[in-house]
């Protein structure tokens, strides 16, 4: 079974600085998707960034980028120029591609990010 591990329960970053959140996963599949979701105090899960395993290029969305190391099964999230609004719980998630039926997301346990002035 696939597992997702986030080894940092809490992280802190100063405003305007850069922080990296770690995620590792275990799978025997070669094709899959990886995600980072953000959960602010409102508790709605918001998609931050997505990476397809067959793409070697790391995904980037504005201030958010990933370092995807397929051989090491590592998928870290880098937040540049951190803002107060980035404070939230961040979840790493894994799924296999949809093949006509529903495919389940496997979530890590989350990393709480604090942003300080």
């Amino acid at each position: 079974a696939q597992t997702v591990t986030q080894s940092q329960p809490e992280m802190s970053v100063q405003e305007a600085e850069t922080v990296t959140l770690s995620c590792t996963y275990d799978t025997s599949e070669s094709d899959y998707y990886l995600f980072w979701y953000k959960q602010p105090p409102s508790r709605q899960m918001i998609l931050v960034i997505r990476q397809e395993a067959y793409k070697q290029q790391n995904a980037t969305e504005n201030r958010f980028s990933v370092n995807f190391q397929k051989a090491a099964k590592s998928f870290s999230l880098k937040i540049s120029d951190s803002q107060l609004g980035d404070a939230a719980m961040y979840f790493c998630a894994y799924r296999t591609p949809t093949t006509g039926t529903a495919s389940k997301l496997t979530f890590g346990t989350g990393t709480r990010l604090q942003v300080t002035l």
Partner: protein, 113 residues
Amino acid sequence: SQTIHQWPATLVQPVGSPLSLECTVEGTSNPNLYWYRQAAGRGLQLLFYSVGIGQISSEVPQNLSASRPQDRQFILSSKKLLLSDSGFYLCAMESGNDPNTQYFGPGTRLTVL
């Protein structure tokens, strides 16, 4: 654009009372729909998913059930709530526009007293 609505936003219910949470989606057809529960300070637990009207798959045997009476409506129910049913319930969808990504609704906070 695709939108997910959840009703109600907050609910406080006594133990033993029934439950009905609703999730509706707009802007797409034939989506896959999911119900998750998140206990305080915990990760997400998949409860049910549905690939079409009347098709429900259960992940965790428990006090809850789900139904999909219409293509874009997904309902989570219970006949008698337990204290352990308290939590934050999230509905998620994925559709043909982006079949490999789940998007989440705003959630329902349920407190069972």
